[in-house]
Subunit: 314 residues, 2 copies
DNA sequence: TCCTTCAGTTAAGTTATACTTAAGCGAAAT
DNA sequence: ATTTCGCTTAAGTATAACTTAACTGAAGGA
């Protein structure tokens, strides 16, 4: 049996027709006339030896053969299109698409974006806030910032910053909170976005390393870290905040971190991009910039007592 | 940016050239002259705006853009080719490719194949013995016989037979084995291929439901069920055999199953094929035949005492 | 009922793509 | 020094892809 592919244009015509379930719409998509498309389908059916569409009065429907073929052509052309777009994007040195988690985007990237735009006026930065793991070969993403453990196989990976956590609140609220025990009398805000960390880095862990016995089970819970910090900004309560996300607010005095004790995490932020892409000019510029910003952000480490959360007893 | 695909023939030429890393070999594969292929690559590079190959003295190597594009085109054309072959195979009513586990192939299918060939002389049956889960959309498989639990989503699934197990041995050996306790004095053959079953259906489970205390830890272990039965056929020892696999040997008297107690399993054999494919003539013929064979195979159920293995204590 | 519209087909003719042949080129192999 | 190898280029050809225009058969509306 001759298993070589039929004319590719015929396959593409079939793919479009199967997606639209309409010859004329498919023809419009491909910028050809319905007549041409009709010929392509006919040619495909001759190569196959049987029809792929059943022609009805005012519509078409797939035959068994068509139903078998359609998912494969859809996959195939999707892969080709994705690869082509990604390759074309290589030479586009004017835009840079970065994906990061929603919290990091809101509390770290967004406040610093103006600086980057000033320093690189020729690069148009696009942010894609999502926790979804991106596939550089399929999605139109140049750079990903991810928080967690790694390793990142097959990717260029650069560690940006370790993360640590400490109680954070408005200066007003801080007047009433001088010792860890005082936290029992204020609202505790819970950031649930780090539940995947081991050991757990939550209020219970912090109180434990402080050696005080405070019930930490009450208070509102936030699935996104930035929302917890936003709540703290209103003076609602105290949040055990990730330093990277609270950094700007601390620097500008809207929040304070009065306690010496900080909980270290084993996770860290990493800069990820496809292998060798780190040399592309706009990616290099972004990496250099973000590394510089990240190293500056260590100013609040002074005077802290860093403790790692205890491993949970088995 | 114009993200529409370049001429597909150019993409295909690139794909072949990237796979072979040679223009002339790629041209040979596509049955065109090297000159034509050279033009296709050139055309692709014009559409892309940059070269995909770096021309060296007597060789070519991929540029960064080429390295980005190549995996995608390989995937894409592989998907198209697989879909096309599978669709072509639909109209081939002369062959039928069946995959089943090695044991079922050897001890169930193979001994019955002659019957099927007699009844369906126009169908050429191909067997592919493998435990790998087959993907009907990628592999050239029409029908799969699988042992386990299901469910089988998105597939046509027909339950063929429940499986049960009982001690099986040569008639000679059976003279020395009259009661379960006698099994302590013969070699126990262990079939490890069912370790995924819950509850476990091994010698320990069988002795437990028999209420006797025999050490079942000794004796040779086999990773494939048919090898354990082959060992029993030589008179080496006694195997706790799956009835479907031992059926032919029991029927023809080469093995006997003297004990009343049989261990039921919750798993069963299923016939699997793509949705709607069960109506294709040769698949229908095979399904009808195998269903008839499977229902005949219940002859050894008479006089058995069926017990399910106890759930393990938590 | 008749006319219109809609979706796809068919025929004839045109354009543009894909391909071949033949000659050329530079570097490596002999 | 000469040949060989792998790719390129130029010129010309075949054919695949496409368009325009006329056609079909059924559904929908007045």
């Amino acid at each position: 049996m001759n298993d070589r592919l039929p004319p590719l244009t015929a396959l593409r015509a079939f793919d479009a027709a199967a997606r639209h379930m309409s010859f004329s719409k498919a023809a419009a998509e491909l910028n050809i006339t319905p007549a041409a498309l009709s010929f392509q389908i006919k040619s495909l059916e001759e190569h196959l030896g049987q029809p792929v569409f059943r022609r009805l009065n005012r519509a078409v429907e797939l035959t068994e053969a068509g139903r078998t073929l359609a998912p494969g052509t859809a996959d195939g052309f999707a892969a080709l299109t994705a690869a082509w777009r990604n390759t074309r994007r290589l030479q586009d040195n004017s835009t840079l698409t970065v994906t990061a988690g929603p919290a990091f985007t809101a509390k770290w990237l967004a406040p610093r974006l103006y600086d980057f735009a000033q320093a690189n006026p020729d690069i148009e930065l696009r942010l894609s806030a999502s926790l979804r793991i991106m596939d550089f070969t399929r999605d139109e993403i140049d750079v990903a910032i991810r928080f967690g453990y790694g390793p990142d196989e097959g990717l260029f990976s650069q560690r940006l910053a370790d993360e640590w956590m400490t109680p954070v609140m408005t200066p007003d609220l801080a007047k009433r909170v001088k010792t860890p025990v005082d936290l029992a009398n204020v609202t505790l805000l819970h950031d649930d976005s780090l539940h995947f960390l081991k050991p757990a880095c939550d209020w219970a862990a912090w109180f434990k390393v402080e050696g005080v016995d405070v019930d930490s089970s009450h208070g509102p819970r936030f699935s996104q870290a930035d929302h917890a910090i936003d709540a703290a900004l209103t003076g609602t309560g105290v949040v055990l905040a990730r330093i990277s996300l609270a950094h700007k607010e601390l620097q500008e005095g809207r929040l304070v971190a009065p306690f010496e004790t900080a909980l270290t995490t084993k996770a860290h932020f990493r800069f990820l991009c496809p292998m060798r892409a780190e040399k592309r000019p706009q990616i290099k510029a972004f990496l250099d910039w973000i590394m510089a910003e990240a190293s500056q952000a260590s100013s609040f480490e002074q005077g802290r007592r860093f403790v790692s959360a205890a491993e949970p007893a088995e």
